[in-house]
């Protein structure tokens, strides 16, 4: 690390406020022979909702995991809320949170016990009030004293979302946030996320296979394929570029290698 690099790892208050929520610079992750993420760069402004799209194995989860510090990059840099990750993770982990199908909440503990523990881990003040608010907002009251393992898939997803919001994070990373939810509940969760972003000026990065969800929620879409960024723009601009009316059609074009042709056709 150079002296300049070192100096930049300790941002001033002004830097923190002005910096992007997430800055990813030439990020690479190689697992043995596989290049899971291949030199991607992007920057997400604070208060934005960005969708990370791509087929299975596109590198979305690895990218999010590197942003969270759960996976170490092979090369490249990640800064979160102005701080380098994972070197300065202690400064930001309390200000961010996540939800992912790759993790569960402890099954034998009740919803209230789980939220209490995570609230304490995040040093949430007035924890009982915060849990009561989340229970009202996410409609958890009917099963808040039931063991997590006895909940339906949809109820578990809402509990996981409550855990992700327990510390009122400035940055929320979501991996398939509405998977396993019926359309009504999924729509209601999306509404909640939109309100949360608006009320808290929070930044949300979500990986999803639900194109309608991305169209509705996101003001920006990053499409990944084989570890690389295939496209990066607003949903409307991307659909116009591919001459498509839905993101699902764009997704299929990219996944099936028709992207260049579609773009050419649009020109």
């Amino acid at each position: 690390m150079t002296g300049n690099d070192k100096a930049s790892s300790w941002p001033t208050v002004a830097d923190e406020i002005s910096s992007a929520a997430i800055e990813v610079d030439r990020l690479v992750k190689v697992y043995k022979q596989t290049r899971a993420v291949d030199g991607i760069s992007f920057s997400l402004p604070r208060g934005s909702i960005t969708g990370l799209l791509g087929g299975n194995g596109a590198g979305k989860t690895t990218t999010i995991a590197m942003i969270m510090g759960l996976v170490l990059p092979t090369s490249g840099r990640v800064r979160v809320l102005g701080h380098p990750m994972p070197e300065d993770s202690a400064a930001v982990l309390g200000r961010m949170n996540f939800e992912s199908p790759y993790v569960d909440m402890p099954m034998r503990l009740t919803v209230r016990q789980n939220l209490t523990i995570f609230g304490k881990l995040y040093a949430v003040k007035d924890l009982a009030d915060r849990i009561a608010t989340l229970a009202d907002d996410l409609d958890l009251n009917d099963f808040i004293d039931r063991a997590n393992g006895k909940l339906s898939a949809g109820q578990k997803t809402r509990v996981a979302l409550a855990k992700a919001l327990i510390n009122q994070p400035e940055l929320l990373l979501l991996d398939e946030p509405t998977a396993s939810l019926d359309p009504d509940t999924a729509d209601w969760v999306r509404g909640h996320l939109e309100r949360y972003r608006k009320d808290n000026n929070a930044t949300i990065l979500l990986a999803s296979h639900n194109m309608l969800e991305v169209e509705r929620l996101c003001d920006r879409v990053i499409i990944m394929k084989r570890g690389r960024i295939e496209d990066d723009d607003t949903p409307d601009a991307i659909m116009a570029r591919y001459n498509r009316t839905t993101l699902e059609e764009v997704f299929l074009d990219v996944a099936r290698g028709r992207a260049n042709g579609a773009k050419e056709g649009a020109r």
């Binding site: 202690a90 993790v103 909440m105 995570f118 881990l121 995040y122």
Partner: protein, 272 residues
């Protein structure tokens, strides 16, 4: 909402949260509680009767009353201490909760400290009834060892934590496929720690290996106390010195294995 000042240094708040998490788990599951009591009780009863039988037929063991049953109790402190540590860790793997914890402000040292406290709690639940059984059935009062018992206990629990930290790191790095190490590694040192026989029984070259293990000093010390009525402070200090080295090495190994897990992405899978 979040008190950022707590993110500097070690937070007792977060350690307390983790202890609460395991406490909730214990209370929610009677089979887990029963398992803590079952094996220690079975051990002490079996070995207690063996000691009775041998004492009736061998004058040495009649004089050295309590060496076997004392060894069983001290071995259980060592073994249960490690299991208490490692099982609490495994609970996170089984629950697929490790990602949530790693993404939270919880630091590795706080996680390990919480696991240490839980090993003490689980040990107390299992071993205290065991010592009462030994007293009731075989008139062996381990507490009559007095202050030396504290020295024995501390040295054994330090070793159990070192082994617990190391095997937890292995599971973290290699996933639940490495789970069997948790249950078996302590048995690998069992013959070398000279639990039921003196170190002099071993071949000379193996005695060097035995003296590299802190529990060997504890079991030799226990025999010296019960047979010769002398408390070997030198043995306890030697054990403590090795234990400090082992604890530092195991913590360093845990951090290295955690880093390796982050490198190969196993925190996301956590499976086999």
């Amino acid at each position: 909402m979040t008190d950022l000042a707590l993110h500097r240094g070690i937070s007792t708040h977060r350690i307390g949260a983790m202890i609460l998490r395991y406490w909730y788990l214990l209370l929610s599951s009677w089979p887990r509680l029963l398992e803590l009591l079952y094996w220690p009780a079975l051990q002490v009863i079996t070995w207690g009767f063996i000691q009775y039988y041998i004492a009736q037929n061998a004058s040495f063991f009649a004089r050295a009353g309590g060496t076997l049953i004392g060894a069983v109790i001290l071995w259980d402190i060592l073994f249960r201490g490690q299991l208490g540590f490692s099982i609490s860790f495994l609970e996170e793997m089984w629950a697929r909760n490790l990602g949530n914890l790693m993404m939270s402000p919880l630091k590795p040292i706080e996680f390990l400290l919480a696991l240490m406290v839980m090993s003490l709690i689980r040990l107390a639940i299992g071993v205290i009834p065991m010592t009462l059984l030994a007293l009731a059935f075989f008139h062996f009062n381990v507490y009559s060892l007095g202050l030396p018992l504290i020295a024995f206990f501390c040295n054994l629990i330090f070793t159990s934590w070192s082994v617990g930290i190391f095997v937890s790191g292995l599971v973290l790095r290699n996933g639940l496929g490495a789970e069997s190490i948790v249950w078996t590694l302590m048995f690998a040192i069992m013959p070398l720690a000279c639990i039921y026989y003196p170190v002099s029984v071993l071949p000379v070259w193996l005695q060097y290996v035995a003296w590299a293990l802190p529990p060997t000093y504890v079991f030799e010390g226990m025999r010296a106390l019960l047979i010769e009525n002398s408390f070997r402070v030198d043995l306890m200090l030697d054990a403590l010195a090795i234990n400090i080295g082992l604890l530092v090495a195991s913590f360093w190994a845990f951090l290295a294995l955690l880093r390796s897990a982050k490198n190969n992405g196993s925190l996301l899978s956590g499976g086999e």
